[in-house]
């Protein structure tokens, strides 16, 4: 893609980014941060491209290090965000989920 087209996409992405993110409820700011963190793990695509073109063993080593770091970022980011969001429950589900352990405690 040529420079001007990339620049156009960049500028538009800035506006989309601010538009979408400013609507995120502040209750979810931590998942927002860890989700955004996961998204920048997509640098993996860049790391794979570089590693795929490497012929020198040193270059390959550095590129593979980048692949390891980026994969850790990407996979870990999405997994931990999912774990966090799973915990945000509404009132209805919460009542059934919270009552049960209490009943068990009573039996003990």
């Amino acid at each position: 893609m040529d420079g001007i087209a990339l620049l156009t996409v960049t500028v538009l992405a800035v506006f989309v980014g601010f538009e979408v993110v400013s609507k995120v409820s502040s209750t979810l700011h931590t998942p927002l941060m860890s989700g955004a963190n996961a998204i920048h793990g997509i640098i993996l695509v860049g790391a794979i491209i570089v590693a795929g073109q490497a012929s020198d063993p040193w270059v390959l080593t550095v590129a593979l290090l980048a692949v390891v770091l980026a994969t850790a970022n990407l996979v870990g980011g999405f997994v931990v965000t999912d774990r966090m969001l799973e915990m945000f429950r509404g009132r209805k589900r919460e009542v059934t989920a919270a009552k049960k352990p209490e009943a068990k405690e009573g039996m003990r």
Binding site: S25, L32, V45, G46, A66, M87
Partner: protein, 457 residues
């Protein structure tokens, strides 16, 4: 060999970019958030599959092996990490992302002659390295591998200035020469700048640093997208940059300070204007049983959890107390100040983990008008975020910081360790008001006592 046509490559990257936007859009509400995150993960998988099919690839087994190693390390950590340790983990992932971007830029230097591409490369190198080193220091502070206090020494501002100046010089030289040795020097200078940036920041200001480094990594990834001519990286990086910027600004606003003031405040050796002499005016301290009576016969209780609650690991007890009060027909909400916890929104996650439904977690703007109708405001391990001095005393270091208006409630109960002032080092006049009751002790122990007393009512 390439399996698919370049047009398809572009379309699949576009689809992945849309997935990322939808992932962030899902976070508008806790109901749609989890699905959004899965859409984002799908987009990432799609993008990775696309890159393997679209470029001529060598070393495929090696690359796949590196991916297995990366996910093999990260997934178990992500599954097991404690919610109180979330800020550390986010800092860690943030750092490795920035590091990966810097390495990619370093290796791309050999593939280009275009000075504009080199500009994007030096930018990625520098910002990625700052993010990597800064995150590493943030991680060490949060994990308490090093002191959480601001680390300041005499020549720090001068040293920082010199490093930045040298980095700019090296960056310009790389753009004109394309020299790999100078690029490595730039990388080292970037790492040094990252360390120097975070060292003087104190523990309570960490939320802002995490947000800022998040924005930095986003920018580094977006710039690496310009280097590789890859739209997806540009869009993804820009989205992250936007989220980091917005969160940084939100945190600064919630502290009533400027971003620059927080980052460079320690350089000046922040003098606290507030009275340091602890006054011996009388306060009304009380027993857990009395507090339980206050709470148990109220109609509406608002709990204000602060960082002290998280430190004492008392969030589960607080949630149980809320449940016990609700069982008595009392209306209970949690009022969350934006800087409660060690990263933006951290307290919400801690309480969600303790099974508090998200409808009960109220933001500052939403709950402030409701304190008027509350019988009791129960402040647990918080101080500065409820200190009226932020509104009334113009000389106070926290003047201008938005606070939770607990003084509007009919009764205020503080669960506090001691009369020691909060992080800002200033006294809280609210403690001496006639409507205020204090219960001294560790937040979790006090909550446990109050909880059993409420159950005994």
């Amino acid at each position: 060999m390439t399996l698919i046509d370049p047009v398809w490559t572009s379309l699949l990257y576009l689809a992945a970019a849309v997935c990322f936007i939808l992932a962030l859009k899902g976070l508008n509400s806790p109901r749609t958030a989890r699905r959004g995150n899965l859409v984002g993960a799908f987009g990432a998988a799609l993008a990775v599959a696309t890159v393997f099919m679209s470029v001529k690839m060598d070393n495929v087994p090696w690359i796949l092996g590196a991916m297995v190693v990366g996910s093999g390390v990260a997934a178990p950590v992500a599954r097991q990490v404690k919610m109180t340790q979330m800020p550390q983990l986010v800092a860690l992932f943030n750092g490795v992302g920035g590091g990966a971007a810097a390495l990619v830029a370093l290796l791309e230097l050999a593939h280009t002659e275009d000075p504009w591409v080199r500009v994007a490369i030096v930018f990625t190198l520098l910002v990625g390295a700052v993010s990597f080193a800064g995150s590493a220091i943030t991680f060490s502070k949060l994990q308490e591998l090093m002191t959480t206090r601001p680390v300041v020494f005499a020549g720090l501002p001068t040293l920082m200035g010199a490093v930045l100046l040298a980095a700019v010089g090296a960056a310009v030289a790389v753009v004109f020469s394309g020299s790999l040795a100078l690029a490595l020097l730039l990388l080292v200078l970037g790492l040094a700048a990252g360390v120097l940036l975070v060292l003087p920041v104190g523990g309570a200001d960490v939320p802002i640093v995490i947000s800022l480094l998040n924005a930095f990594t986003g920018l580094a990834v977006a710039a690496s997208g310009l280097v590789l001519g890859n739209v997806l990286l540009v869009v993804a990086g820009t989205l992250v940059g936007a989220s980091g910027t917005i969160l940084t600004r939100a945190m600064a606003a919630a502290m009533g300070r400027s971003v620059a003031g927080i980052l460079f405040g320690a350089f000046k050796g922040g003098s606290t204007a507030g009275s340091t002499a602890v006054s011996d005016r009388p306060v009304r301290s009380s027993s857990a049983e009395d507090v339980a009576v206050l709470l148990g016969y109220a109609q509406r209780v608002i709990i204000v959890p602060g960082y002290g609650l998280a430190v004492a690991q008392g969030q589960h007890t607080a949630a149980e107390l809320a449940l016990a009060l609700e069982a008595r027909g009392i209306d209970v909400d949690f009022a969350i100040h934006p800087v409660a916890g060690r990263m933006p929104g951290h307290m919400n996650v801690l309480l969600a983990e303790a099974n508090v439904p998200y409808e009960s977690l109220k933001e500052m703007g939403e709950i402030n008008s409701e304190f008027r109708t509350a019988d009791v405001a129960l402040v647990v391990g918080a101080n500065d975020v409820v200190n009226p001095a932020a509104k009334t005393s113009a000389g106070s270091p926290i003047y201008g910081m938005p606070i939770l208006e607990v003084a509007d409630a009919r009764q205020v109960v503080f669960l506090k360790r001691s009369m020691r002032p909060g992080f800002a080092g200033i006294e809280n006049e609210l403690m001496y008001e006639p409507q205020t009751t204090l219960l001294f002790g560790d937040a979790k122990e006090s909550l446990t006592k109050v909880l059993s007393a409420v159950k005994a009512l």
